[in-house]
């Protein structure tokens, strides 16, 4: 694997780890299950810290996604070389970015969305996250690649 490919893979792994951790930190579970009581992990129970970290990781994920997309296009790799799991992961990440961006908009002042809209958005984002985690675990164990 070339150096840029390795950097990209490590970058993706770090971003995925941070965005998932901070995303789960949006739910009051780290405090309840005393994970935030573990020395060094207290910040996981601080909602504003995990909120900002989640936004920062989302910025990195969006930048990485756009970089990979245009890198593929400009180098003539094309979507046809994507594996089945690669297609699924691309779709899920796209869904996560879109639903995440809508949630960012929801958090702006003066945005009044209904319970139903917010709940659908929350559940969609959470379900896509779980799907990505399971698929990533599968591809990691089965050594499936993004492209053929």
């Amino acid at each position: 694997m070339k150096a840029t490919g390795k950097t990209r893979s490590y970058g993706y792994a770090i971003v995925l780890f941070l965005i998932t951790l901070s995303g789960f930190g949006q739910m009051p579970i780290f405090g309840r299950y005393y994970i935030a009581s573990v020395p060094g992990l207290g910040w996981l129970g601080e909602f504003y810290t995990t909120h900002v970290l989640h936004y920062a990781a989302a910025i990195a994920l969006i930048a990485l996604a756009v970089y990979v997309l245009f890198d593929f296009v400009m180098n003539g790799v094309g979507l046809k070389r994507l594996t089945t799991s690669g297609y699924f992961k691309t779709g899920i990440i796209s869904g996560l970015i879109i639903s995440g961006c809508l949630m960012v908009v929801k958090n702006f002042p003066g945005i009044y969305w209904s319970h139903t809209t917010i709940i659908v958005l929350d559940l969609t984002h959470l379900s896509l996250c779980m799907a990505l985690l399971m698929l990533s675990l599968y591809t990691l164990v089965m050594k499936k690649k993004w492209i053929e």
């Binding site: 009051p28 504003y48 910025i59 969006i62 930048a63 756009v66 970089y67 997309l69 960012v104 139903t116």
Partner: protein, 325 residues
């Protein structure tokens, strides 16, 4: 319950309210600030103005709130389900419903007392305290499940049918306003042992009364007309005018980036904050920064992220093309 509130109902209520406001005579009790039509899509949020010089601490607002909102109060199912880990706190106010000297799931407004000396004059002030109904409420925006909601008229409220009682809203509220009752709500039907812990309760500014062209109970019941309600810009104008007139101070305009509860006091609020009893269920009166500001600022950077990704891809392509030559 909230899901049944249609936009039509909301607008209908607003139109009715607007009519009353404009007429200025249809509402008994305190002054309704002069206002534009509330049904207007561009209508700004409603704010309340509390002139704390007028408050005599009679608790009429407290009792009116309890009476009007009694049907919304929790009736927990006992014994409470076992929760894991066992150290998860059970919060039960159902046996202490009579408590009125702090915020509880059964008491959404209370009176704070302050003995202060200002400009050589000794004063005893009483201050009605409840949810501030922030402009950009963290309780609503950061609820992980969408159980809290902000309405266009500026009030924020928690839907008791949807809340799981995780208490995040209380944690992120700069005044720690919402209070939890264990043993009630949706979590009982899901995984009561492992997730959720009841329902969070706080002032909903009598949203159902506002829909029917009625004033919030605390405003209507006050014999001293401590509170008035109207469009935010007009309430702020009144607040500043009153503060100028009495050489007083304003609280709630800039706190947490702005709220829809504006206090006017003859005494500086840092002095009042030092004098009031603070703690669990007893919110402070200190300045608080805009808690949502970091997220809002970062979201601007999110707009630059695609450009950064694009620039990196172009950069790589350019270098590769140069190498190929």
């Amino acid at each position: 319950m909230s899901l049944k509130i249609s936009r039509r109902t909301f607008i209908k209520g607003s139109i009715a309210a607007a009519g009353t406001v404009v007429a200025g005579t249809g509402i008994s009790g305190p002054d309704f600030a002069a206002a534009g039509p509330l049904s207007d899509e561009k209508q700004e949020p409603l704010s309340t103005l509390l002139d704390i010089r007028k408050c005599i601490g009679c608790e009429e607002c407290v009792h009116a709130c309890r009476e009007v909102n009694a049907a919304k109060y929790p009736e927990p199912r006992k014994p409470f389900p076992k929760m894991y880990p066992k150290t998860v706190p059970v919060q039960d106010w159902s046996e202490k419903r009579d408590v009125t000297d702090r915020l509880t799931p059964y008491n959404w407004i209370f009176i704070q007392h302050a003995s202060v000396t200002h400009n050589g004059e000794k004063m005893e002030l009483t201050i009605p305290r409840r949810c501030m109904h922030c402009d950009n409420p963290p309780c609503v925006k950061l609820c992980p499940w969408g159980a809290a909601k902000q309405e266009k008229n500026g009030l924020s409220r928690i839907d008791a049918d949807l809340c799981l009682g995780g208490s995040k809203c209380k944690n992120v509220c700069p005044w720690s306003i919402p209070e939890r009752q264990t043993g009630v709500g949706l979590y009982l039907d899901l995984l009561p042992a492992l997730a959720g812990n009841g329902v969070m309760y706080k002032c909903d500014r009598c949203y159902n009364r506002l829909e029917k062209d009625e004033l919030p109970a605390c405003i209507e019941a006050c014999p001293e007309n401590v509170q008035s309600i109207g469009p935010r810009s007009e309430i702020l104008e009144q607040a500043h005018s009153l503060a100028k007139e009495i050489n007083g101070y304003v609280y709630g305009e800039h706190e947490n980036g702005g709220t829809n509860t504006i206090y006017v006091s003859p005494v500086p609020f840092d002095q009042l904050n030092a004098a009031i009893e603070k703690g669990k269920g007893k919110p402070h009166l200190a300045y608080t920064k805009n808690m949502m500001a970091d997220g809002t600022n970062l979201s601007r950077a999110m707009l630059i992220a695609p450009l950064a990704g694009l620039a990196a891809a172009f950069g790589k392509f350019y270098l590769k093309s140069k190498e190929d030559k």
